[in-house]
Symmetry: C2
Subunit: 366 residues, 2 copies
C-alpha cells in the first residue's frame, strides 16, 4: 500500500516524520524463467561448500532435527567475530557484526553521525546514505564527484559531523587509493570517517590496514558479494575498540540478537575457507576484465572498475533504452534515473556464459 | 569494553546521545555443562521437525550446496507473510515481519511513537521499552500496575502519543482480558495501542481478533517462545494495512532485507505445522500448572500466569538468595533487581524432568 492511498485521517496515527520518509528501493528480484539477473551485484558463483555443511551441522546438533534453534543465539556472535578477526588480522574488539551491512550502516549513522554539523558524502554513491540521513534527521552536504567520477578529496575539508563514502564507489566501481583516504582521515581528526567497502575484494585495497593508525576510521564490509552470502545477511564493521563500543551500545539498544544461529555458523565457515574466497574473487576479476574488453569492442565506455560490476555508457544509445531492450529478452541490468548518471548502466559481473549471452544481445542492440 | 573505560577524548567521536544510552541487557547465555537454563523463556521442546527439513531444502535447491544463499532474499518475505496470514486468519496486508520481535518493536516505536505527547507503558513490563524510548528520545509516563500486578486500565486515560504493554505481561505472566483492552482502544482513538503478545500462545487470548474493529491497534508476536525458534529470529506485527504501511516505510528506510532465506523458509514451515504448535503449547501449559502446584506446596506464592514462565516469591526467603543458591547447582532463573519486584523470580517452564530437578533443589533451599 503506497502512502498516496492512505487517507490523512489514517495517517494521523503515524509518527509525523514517517510521513515524509523516502525509503530505499532495492534492485528488483523478479521471478521470471531463464532470467539473467545482472542487477543486484550478487555473486555468480556459489558460496564455499563449507557454509551449507556448517548450517546442517547446527541443525543436527541434537537428536531432534533443528532443536538447537529453540535457543537464542549468542547475542554477541563471538564465534563469528573471532573468525572474521582472524581472517582480517584484527582483534575481536575491533570487529562488529550485524544483519547485513545495511543494518551495520544504520547503526553507524546513529552511533557517530547525530551531530550538529552536517555529514558529508559523495553526490553519487550508495543510495541508502540519503535514506539513513532522513531516517536520523541529519544535515547533509553532498560533495560532487570529480568529472571522471573519482572522489574529490578537497571537498571533504569543510566543517562536518562525519564522512561516509563507498570504496570502490557504487554505482561507479571507481576505487580511491589509500593514500587519498589518509588525507581525508588526517584532515578530519574529530569526525568519524566511514569507508564502505562492500566491493573491496575484487581488486581494491582495504582500509583495514589503517585502523591501528587512525582513531576516527570505520571500515564497513559485507559477505553478500565476495562471499556469495547475500541470502544469509551478514555485515561487519572494523574500527578501534572505542568506536566498536559505540556500535555495540546502539545495537544493544535496538535489537540484541540480530544474527541467527545459522547465519553465525555459515559466516564462520565462509571466513575459515580463505582459499575458496580468493579463488572466486579472482574468477570475478578475470570475468570483469573479459566483459570490459567485450563491451569496449562494442563501442561502450566503461569506467575503471574494482568492483563485481561495471558502470558503462554507449555514446550512441540511451541507457534506458538498452536496459528496456535487454529486459525484453530476460536480461536485467540496473539503471539509475538520476542526474549525471542517467545514461549509464550498472552491470553485475556474471559467469563467462552469462556474459556471453549479454554481449550477444548487446551486439544486436548497439 | 564498557563506556567507563573509554576516555572522553575518544568519546568525542560518538554521537552525543549515544553516550547516555542504557542498552538492554538480555538474559545471560552461559556455557556451563549440565546447565539448567530457566532464565530466557526458551521452549523446552524442539521446533516442528518440518523447520529443519525446509531449511535443508533451501540449501539443496541447486546442484552446488548452499548455492541459493548467493542471492538476496525476498525483501518483502512474502512467503512468510502468507503463511503467517493463513494461520492467523488475516490478510497479507495486515502482516509485518522482522528480525525477531525486538526489531519489530523498534520499528513500531519509530513508526508511531515519535510524538509530542508522552507514550505510556506499565512501570513493570518488558525492560526493552525504556531502552527504545531513550533510543528515540521519547517522553514517557510509566503507569503503575495495580497492587495485584494486573494492568490498571484507568491509568491509560491521560493524554498520550501512544501506548504499549505486554500481554501476558512480562515478567509477571499476568494476562489482561480482551474487554479491558477494548476499553483502552476506545479511550485512545488517536493513539496507536500496541499489544505485545510474545507469550500469548500459552493460554492467553490474542487481540488479533480486534484488528478489523480498531484502526489504532497493533499486535506484536514472536516465534521465539511458542514456536521454539528463538535461534532463528522471526518477529511479526499485525494491524490494519495503513499501520503496516508505516512499518514497511520504516523498515525500508533502515534495512531492506532483515529476514534471511533460511529464516523465511523455516518460519513458513513452522506456521504450516499447526498441529505440532498446538501440541507443544498445551504441553507447556500442562507443565506450568504442575510447576505452580509444586511451588505452592513449597510455600511459594505464584502470580497467575498465562505465559511460558511463572513469577514467584517466597515469604521467608529472599529471591536473590534463592537464585544464587540455584546457580551454585547449575540452575539459572531470572531475578530483576528493581523496585516492587526485587523479591520475585521469573522461572521458565521446562520439561517435567527439568522442573523436578528444580523443585528438588528448591525443596532443599526453602
Amino acid at each position: 500500500m503506497t502512502t498516496e492511498h492512505i487517507s490523512s485521517h489514517l495517517q494521523r496515527l503515524w509518527s509525523p516524520e514517517v510521513r515524509t520518509l523516502e525509503p530505499y528501493v532495492p534492485g528488483e528480484q523478479p521471478k521470471i524463467d531463464n532470467l539473467l539477473k545482472l542487477n543486484t551485484n550478487e555473486s555468480p558463483f556459489p558460496p564455499s561448500p563449507k557454509v551449507a555443511e556448517a548450517i546442517i551441522k547446527v541443525l543436527n546438533e541434537h537428536a531432534e532435527p533443528g532443536n538447537s534453534l529453540r535457543l537464542y543465539p549468542d547475542p554477541d556472535a563471538s564465534a563469528l567475530k573471532q573468525a572474521i578477526a582472524a581472517q582480517q588480522q584484527l582483534s575481536v574488539e575491533q570487529v562488529f557484526v550485524g544483519n547485513g551491512s545495511d543494518e551495520v550502516l544504520a547503526h553507524i549513522f546513529k552511533a557517530f553521525f547525530i551531530q550538529d554539523k552536517p555529514i558529508l558524502y559523495p553526490d553519487i554513491s550508495y543510495s541508502f546514505y540519503p535514506v539513513y540521513s532522513q531516517f536520523f534527521n541529519l544535515k547533509v552536504i553532498q560533495v560532487p564527484l570529480a568529472d571522471d567520477f573519482s572522489l574529490d578529496v578537497t571537498g571533504y575539508q569543510q566543517p562536518n559531523g562525519g564522512i561516509i563514502f563507498a570504496n570502490p564507489n557504487a554505482p561507479t566501481g571507481v576505487f580511491l587509493p589509500l593514500d587519498k583516504i589518509e588525507v581525508i582521515l588526517q584532515q578530519n581528526p574529530d569526525s568519524v570517517v566511514v569507508v564502505d567497502e562492500a566491493y573491496v575484494d575484487f581488486g581494491g585495497q582495504s582500509a583495514t590496514s589503517l585502523i591501528s593508525k587512525y582513531d576516527n576510521l570505520v571500515v564497513c564490509q559485507t559477505t553478500s558479494k565476495s562471499r556469495a552470502l547475500a541470502g544469509l545477511r551478514i555485515g561487519m564493521a572494523f574500527a578501534q575498540p572505542h568506536l566498536i563500543a559505540a556500535l555495540e551500545r546502539v545495537k544493544n539498544s535496538f535489537n540484541s540478537y540480530p544474527m541467527d544461529r545459522l547465519a553465525i555458523a555459515g559466516g564462520v565457515a565462509s571466513f575459515e575457507d580463505q582459499a575458496y574466497f580468493e579463488q572466486t574473487c579472482q574468477q570475478t576479476i578475470d570475468n570483469r576484465e573479459q566483459l570490459v574488453a567485450q563491451l569496449t569492442e562494442l563501442g561502450f565506455e566503461v569506467l575503471p572498475s574494482k568492483a563485481n560490476f561495471i558502470f558503462t555508457q554507449h555514446p550512441q544509445y540511451a541507457a534506458m533504452e538498452i536496459a528496456a531492450k535487454l529486459r525484453e529478452v530476460g536480461i536485467i541490468v540496473r539503471h539509475f534515473n538520476k542526474p549525471k548518471i542517467h545514461n549509464f548502466l550498472r552491470i553485475t559481473i556474471g559467469t563467462t556464459a552469462q556474459q556471453n549471452r549479454l554481449v550477444a544481445r548487446l551486439g544486436e542492440i548497439c
